[in-house]
Symmetry: C2
Subunit: 325 residues, 2 copies
């Protein structure tokens, strides 16, 4: 079994320093010390990823646990339009999980850090009966450029990146038959989601988005968060929502692509609003990530769904709610 | 039972915004956005405080859990000489703990935030089978003024603030007979430790300290951390160490004040080193917090203790090690 010191040393080796001119003191002191650039603001976010709440030991490979913990947290920076800089890793581990399991975890997290451009600058290590991590992510953004949840206005277009429901489909498949029975591609979005960092920065920089949030709890729930922050309502067209396509082997399970797209969590796509006049300037994709207009912001504070037959109904928030029984 | 939204609203109400000119976006968006001042560096630290690892539901009042979680984390800023600014609260709670228990927790944490000058700017909420929090604290410090662990040099004096072993005594008493059987004063240091923020800033600003660490794991362990970072050794004089005084009712238990002071954790006093020439300029106390010279840094990489009879022996690190069986 590893000591705390050995664990910290192994962790540090997996996260070599990137070219971070602003980093003055990294891992190993009481706190990290960094020097902010001038003319920027900092975005700060924190996120827990816990065994038996967010992942299961028997279902989720350690690489995916490490990767996804960092991806989820970093997605909050994407939703502000911020550029990732640093992260802090607070780690709770059972003594028996400090060996091979932790190596896999580190491998996945190190890949995520490289992909997202994040430097590990500090953390905390403790034992626990279940594994859990808490990540704090720090990003920068040019002054006044952060895209908040609160800027949506009536008449704005509602847009979404990528395809919705893929992560929930992956979870449903995994829970039914474990990771080895399905094609990797079907599980990819659930195990290895991609925070839409480039798109978020593009939307912030070009000033196109009036409001933005990442879809972590599910479209029906996160759209409600955005509308409540902005003091508006929304109307979605079911036919326009880019829904997961069920593969043959998954069709028998009886899943509904629209339900998966509306209420499935963990997609980490971006949901954002634009002034209507931007529609003709909007590219169909940014660096390969498709953008789809799925509805519009309305003055009335209700969330409405127009179905394929043209009928309008209230859309309840049925996504992830941690304290629901 | 509270929903996540209700929990976040209750939490936000307990932490009113302070005069934080640099805060642009607080609780409720994907990330907080803050604007760093010019000419400063930022200190970043993260710390977990978990049920059954760091506290026990039946032994520790919820107010003390909330207070101490924030105090422990903030102590890392004190040990750099930084001024507290913002914090992020990541919260894992059993559904049944979201009512009265959480109110007490918030009360204690809000008192700590007011005392330390910290503004809550964001967080995360999730359910869990056991309660746990992770705190990320952000402080600022004038450029180049942070006091690191790595600056101790042979011949430097080793100093400590306050009295050592009081927190461990409190824990031992609590574990024996619960919180209501002892005078509050005996338990205060264990339940409501005081991060030495003013002293840390004073030592950083006046340039007196060559190295500094807070005593969270115990003197014998934290002195080793400091010496390893600095590439030096240390010699302590047992007689000089400001040891806890055992009250009459606690003497029967058979505790040794020297052992409590050397190996007891959770005191959150500051351990720091000074050039020898500073000794005559050193006040006996800073804002009521006593300072004591307890030893000196030596070239040889050993940690030695000189006992009351003048005998010198190796001092093993017997403080807190999370992964020790």
């Amino acid at each position: 079994m590893a000591s705390e010191k050995q664990l910290i040393a192994r962790t540090g080796r997996k996260f070599p320093l990137r070219s971070s001119a602003g980093l003055r003191v990294g891992i190993g002191d009481d706190a990290a010390v960094v020097r902010p650039k001038e003319g920027v603001e900092w975005a700060l976010t924190t996120d827990a990823f816990l065994e038996n709440v967010h992942f299961l030991l028997r279902v989720h490979p350690p690489e995916a646990v490490g990767y996804k913990a960092l991806a989820r947290a970093t997605s909050d920076l994407a939703a502000m339009g911020a550029r990732p800089l640093y992260f802090l890793l607070s780690l709770a581990l059972p003594a028996g999980r400090t060996g091979k399991w932790y190596d896999g975890f580190l491998e996945g997290m190190a890949r995520a850090a490289r992909t997202f451009g994040l430097t590990l600058v500090g953390g905390d290590t403790t034992r626990s009966t279940l594994a859990g991590v808490n990540l704090t992510i720090i990003g920068e953004i040019d002054r006044g450029q952060a895209v908040l949840r609160s800027g949506a206005r009536p008449g704005n277009l509602i847009c979404v990146s990528g395809t919705l429901g893929e992560a929930e489909l992956g979870l449903q498949l995994l829970q039914r038959r474990g990771p080895k029975k399905w094609k990797k591609e079907l599980l990819r979005k659930h195990l290895y989601p991609e925070p839409r960092l480039h798109l978020g920065q593009w939307l912030a920089k070009k000033g196109r988005a009036t409001a933005m949030i990442d879809i972590s709890d599910g479209l029906s729930t996160d759209l409600r968060h955005l509308c409540e922050s902005s003091g508006v309502g929304a109307k979605l067209w079911a036919a326009k929502i880019p829904k997961v396509v069920l593969p043959g082997e998954a069709q028998k399970i009886g899943l509904d692509p629209l339900r998966l797209a509306l209420d499935g969590g963990d997609d980490y796509e971006l949901l954002f609003t634009l002034p209507k006049r931007m529609q003709r300037h909007l590219p169909r994709a940014v660096r390969g990530v498709p953008i789809t207009v799925i509805g519009e912001i309305i003055r009335e504070k209700r969330i409405l769904l127009v179905d394929d037959a043209g009928r309008t109904r209230n859309l309840p928030a049925r996504g992830w709610e941690p304290f629901r029984e």
